[in-house]
Structures are given as C-alpha cells and as structure tokens.
C-alpha cells in the first residue's frame, strides 16, 4: 500500500474509518426504542404475531423469532443461545418439560413475587401451574395448555360396539386396539423416536398407576421406577398394538401429523387416534379448510384418553407452552411486562378460538366466544384432561431421561414387557450416572 500512491492509501483508510463510524452511529440511533425478541414455537404463528403487535408499547417493540417444529430442536436452539449468555433472548416459548433444566442452569429469570402471583393465581389450572415452578420459585408464565384425547369416527365405534365405554371414558387400550383390528381400522399414535413417543410411554405408565422416575428433585440420583408392573403394563400395550393388524404401516416413524390422513381415508372405516387438541380445528370445515366434508366431520367423535389397565383412570398427557424470560436480558422490566401481556386471558382466548390451543386459565373456558367455537362436550373433555392429566417427569435431567427411554423403547416393534422395562431401567440409571453414552 505504501509504494507509489501513499496518499491514495491514506484516503482509502480514512474512507473506511468513516463508513465504520457511520454504521456504528446508525446502530446507536436505532436503539432508542428497545426491541424484545420473543422466540416462539410454530403453533399459532399468525395469532402470536398479532399478539406481539398488541403487546408492543410506546416503550418497546416485541419481535417474533421462529423456532424449529420439534420440541428437542427448540430446546437445543434456545439452550445454545442461553449457554452463551445471550442478552438478545428476552422472551421464549418453552415446552413445560424444559423449565426445570433451564431454571437450574440459571438461564431463566425467576419471576419476582408480584409477577409470579399474577401469572400463577387460583384461576390457572393445576396442571400448567405445576409446570412453571422449580425449587419454590416461579420461572415462567403458562400461556396455553395442551392435552391428548382419543379421536375416532362414531361409525367405527358403533360398528365395533364400544361406543358406550368410550363415552363413559372407561375404554382401555386393549379394547380400542381389538376394536380397530376386528373392523379393518387402525390405531394412530406417535411412536417415532422423538419427544411425543416419550409422551405416549409416560401416559401409559402413569395410566397403570406408576412413574418412569420418582424423587426427581434428587437430579441424577432420582429413583428409576419404570421396571415395575406399570412399566410392564405399558410395554404390553405397545406390544399389542405393534403386533396387531391395527398398527399403521409407518408406526415406528409416526408423528403428530402422519396419522391425520387415516381418519377419513377413502374406502377405510377410519381410525382411533390419540392426538393433541389441534386435531379439531385441523378437520373442521371452513372457507379455507376443505380437508374433509361437513358430513365426514359430523362423524368425528372424541373420548377421554384410553386406560392402560381396566379399573384405573387414564392419565392424559399434558403439554402446552410457558413463557419464560431470559436470564441475561437487558430489558428485564419490559420483558416481565410483556410476558404478562402475552399470557393474559385475552391472548389465551385468541389462541384457543383460532388455533385450538387450549387455555391454561379455567375462566377462559367459560368465555362465550370459546363456547361458540367448540362442541361443549369437547371443551369439557379438554378441561378435565388438562386438570386430571399426568405431567412428564419434572427433572433438570429430563432430556437425558426422555432420550434414554426413547432409545430403549424404539422401535415399538421390538418392545417386550418381559425385557424392555427392565433394560430401560438399567440403561436410564447408567445414563444418569454418566456411565453410558446416549
């Protein structure tokens, strides 16, 4: 650069400095009104976008950032930011099972007393309220609650003669699987090696009165209890389905979306399917939704999650989304205010009415707009399922627990009540002690 044109070199240098300085100045200028980043999962995007607009104030704007579809991927992406103390992660939509892990890692801001008592008051259903607490602190605000019910076709249940048991909420998995295989129908579940398979296994074990692990506050020293009568009863259900005619051909890679098509498939009597609340809106005919006809939709029926064993009430899976505030945010007060706004009753109502994502607050279920949007029996079923449902293990090591269970119980075709619960218990203990790779 020095050679023949020393002046030119200097000029270029000066120009570069100017450009740099200018861009730094612009960056400063735009930071007058802070922007809060809200990492959302893809459910109900449109509603959440308008919610972000409504909750933006004169003091700050809320901007939506989209996370991947799978719960595990969402966790990975958020955790990588937070592990690096990212100050731009202000608000995040969290699957309830990840709250303990994030809270114990110091990635979530513990909600101050006044905010905590506002977002978890008596109106919040017991299930969702339980998921936001960790070691006596409240670390997130429940936004919506999810649960699974048994979806089926009335004509199929009538033909199989199990309508009464279904309506009473006492039908067992055995009844459902037998009814499907005897009538040329299938049973839709989620049994790919991913989080929703863990949801199914957990519900089956709890439905038989057991737990996968207990004393989870002890962290890696939690009691592994899957090698039990309940664990074997759960494995028996998986085995019965995998061995029966009712198993769908893609059972071992089935996800929430893969069995939707089998319900009203041409030339088939349909299916029994355990799935989340969104299913209703997925089928409900409207101007924009022509998945099924009005007549077919009239045949859609629903019942409480099937029982694992006779005589013991089922424990429907509970899911949903909680809103957490990042521990490293530069706008704590704004973020706390925004977290309250995006979880208020109005927000919960909008998510329920337009997206089928059920409220975490009991009072919202009585709102006229929601009552009009759903069949009253379905709304009541959602509410009791959330209330009486069973949570997944609440542990700072949940991800290891879930991963270990999935790895031993997948593929569903290899599940055996004699060996799978015992082997998965041994493996889970080793993984928690750090003695086995996962």
């Amino acid at each position: 650069m020095g050679g023949p044109h020393p002046r030119l070199g200097r000029r270029v240098g000066a120009a570069a400095t100017l450009v740099l300085a200018a861009s730094t100045l612009t960056a400063c200028g735009s930071s007058g009104k802070p922007t809060l980043n809200w990492y959302i999962n893809p459910d109900g995007q449109a509603t959440l976008t308008s919610l972000a607009e409504r909750c933006s104030t004169d003091d700050y704007d809320i901007e939506i950032q989209l996370l991947p579809t799978g719960a595990t991927d969402q966790r990975t992406q958020l955790a990588r930011r937070l592990a690096a103390s990212d100050s731009s992660t202000d608000l995040m939509s969290l699957d309830p099972v990840f709250v303990p892990e994030f809270a114990s890692a110091g990635w979530l801001l513990e909600l101050p007393e006044d905010v905590a008592s506002a977002v978890v008051d008596d109106d919040v259903l017991a299930g969702p309220a339980e998921t936001v607490t960790w070691e006596d602190g409240v670390y997130a605000a429940p936004q919506w609650a999810n649960t699974q019910v048994l979806w089926y076709r009335q004509s199929l249940a009538d033909a199989a003669g199990i309508s009464e048991d279904l309506e009473a909420g006492t039908a067992t998995w055995e009844q459902v699987i037998t009814a499907a295989s005897e009538n040329g129908a299938t049973v839709g579940v989620q049994a790919d090696r991913y989080e929703a398979y863990m949801v199914w296994i957990n519900a089956l074990v709890q439905g038989a009165g057991g737990e996968i692990v207990s004393n989870t506050e002890a962290g890696v020293d939690a009691e592994v209890e899957i090698d039990s009568e309940a664990g074997r009863a759960a494995a028996a259900v998986v085995q019965q389905l995998a061995d029966s005619e009712a198993a769908q051909s893609d059972l071992s890679v089935s996800r929430e979306g893969t069995s939707l098509g089998a319900m009203f498939a041409e030339g088939s009597p349909g299916e029994f399917m355990t799935n989340w609340t969104f299913v209703y809106k997925n089928y409900e005919p409207s101007e924009t939704n022509t998945v099924v006809t009005e007549e077919q939709f009239g045949d859609l029926a629903w019942a409480r999650y099937p029982r694992t064993v006779e005589g013991e009430a089922s424990k429907p899976p509970v899911g949903g989304i909680n809103i957490g505030v990042g521990a490293f945010t530069e706008h704590q007060d704004h973020a706390l205010e925004a977290a309250q706004c995006v979880t208020d009753p109005e927000a919960q109502l909008a998510l329920a009415v337009t997206d089928g994502l059920m409220p975490a607050r009991a009072s919202v279920y009585d709102e006229q707009e929601l009552v009009d949007a759903y069949d009253p029996t379905l709304l009541e079923l959602f509410r009791t399922s959330v209330e009486e449902g069973g949570p997944r293990p609440k542990s700072a090591f949940y991800n290891q627990i879930s991963g270990a269970v999935q790895s031993q119980w997948h593929s569903p075709f290899d599940v055996d009540p004699e060996s799978t619960p015992r082997e998965s218990a041994e493996y889970l203990r080793e993984v928690l002690r750090g003695e086995a790779l996962l």
Binding site: A83, S104, A105, D250, T258, G403, S411, E435, L437, L438
Partner: protein, 311 residues
Amino acid sequence: MTHTVTAPAPEAQRKKASDRAVAENKLGMKLVAPALVVMLLVTAFPMLQALWLSLSNYALTAPDDRSFVGLQNYVTALTDPLFWRTMAVTVGIMIVTVFFELIIGFVFALVMHRVIFARGIIRTSILIPYGIITVVSGFAWQFAFSGTNGFVNLWLPFVEGNFNWFGEQFPALFAICVSEIWKTTPFMSLLLLAGLAQVSEDMIEAAKVDGATWWQRLFRVILPNMRAAIMVAILFRALDAFRIFDNIFVMTAGAVGTESVSFLTYRQVIEQFQIGMGSALSVLLFLSVLVIAFLIVKLFRVDLAAARQEG
C-alpha cells in the same frame, strides 16, 4: 558407537547458502508468519481446547460442577457398546458407499471421457447431484423411500406397497447409503476422470494393435496406469464417508440403530450439552480418521505426489 562418528554430518555436505538466499528465506518466513498465526488460531487452538475439554466432566447445563476426570471419558466411551455399534455402522456405511461409488463413478468417468456428442450436457447432468446440498438430497430420498407417499415401493416389485424402510436397521441403512451414493458418485467420477485423462492414448493404441480385447485394455493398461488417481479418490471418499452425518440426521435422526460416530458426537455435544464426553468422542473420531488415512496410504502405497503429477 563408531558408526555415528563415521557418518558425515549433513551440514558439512550442504553448500553454504549465499547471503541473498538467507535474506530471501527470512522474508519468506515473515510473509508466511501471519497465515501461520491465523492457522494456529483457527485450527490448532480448537483442537487443543477439545483435547483439554475431553479430560473434564463438563455439562453446559451445570457449568459450575465442572471437574477434571482424566481419561475417564475415554474409558466410558471405549467400553460402551453403543460406541462400538456406531463404529461398526460407520465403517459399514463407508465400505459399502465407497465400493459402489467407485464402480458407478468409474463407469461415469468412462462415459464422460469417451462421449463424443453433447459432451457438455452429459458431463453437466452427471455432475448435478453433486451440486445439490446433502440435506436436500436426504429429504428427497426420505420422501422417495417413504412407505406412505414415496415412489420407491411402487417401483420395486419385491417389496410391499406400504413397506416402512425406516422401521428397521438394514432397510434404513440401505436408504441412507442410496442417498449418499447418489449424491457423491459424481465427485468420485470427477477424480477418476482426471486419472483417466492421464492414461496415454499411445499405450491404448499399442495394446489395440497387439490385439488386446476391451477388457484386457481396461485391466492391463488403463487401470494400472491410473492407480494413483483411484487411490486418491478412495482416500478422499473414505474419509468423507466416515464422517457421514447429514443423511442420517435428516432421514432417521439416528433411530433404529443408524447412528454414525459423528451423529453420536453431535448428540453428546449439541443435544445433551455434555461438552466433556462430546470432546472425547470428537478426539476419538479425529484419531479414527487419522488411522483410516494412514491405513489406506500405507496398505495401498498411495503416492499423493504422483497423483498430482509432481513426482
């Protein structure tokens, strides 16, 4: 000790460098220094850090509980059946894919070399798969092999219409290998084409005049003369194939026993946040790659310089 005394000191035989040469050497060093520093920063530092991290028990979710555990992570990994299962799967994928890529790639190379009409179009179309991102190729083949809406089951007469390729280990590995072979065969054929171009036409003509058949010319003249190119192609592809990740991540996410060593490492570091164990696995992966490279170079006596026509 007498032989050491009798051996001439190397310095004594070397011609004394001129001042000019010394100065040029010094300048050369100075010019190379910045690049060397950057290289050390971006490659040596992370490698040494991984080595250091692999000696500790360190999870991102509990950074305060970090502790030095010596070689414990290596012991855990090397005595774990899962590690050896993934190693077997990885080596299996490597051998199968490289074998088929070599054969198909050689046929493609011959076509590209000999084709006389529409040369550009044919060469380009053979190379298209290599231009496609591996993740995209993985998704495309996953849909193709899907039991519910894929077309592979319809084409193959010996499988049922709703056969689930991703339900068991071997069918799933087959689908993964097909995607891998489809995607990287063009690379193999490019390397082989370069070797093919080196074979002198005179020799082939001479063999023809001597009455050698096509097969004789191929096995006695063409292949021996492009040995170095073939070995380099095998070396490159074997090392690549050993680190297979994308196709497995997209197509099965490691289910039904399809994890490779890279995928296992990814799960420890990225999903489990077990930085210590993950680093130990990365070091083992790195060592495995070195061993494979060493074995191929030594066993087949590959002369890398000859392949680049420097020898």
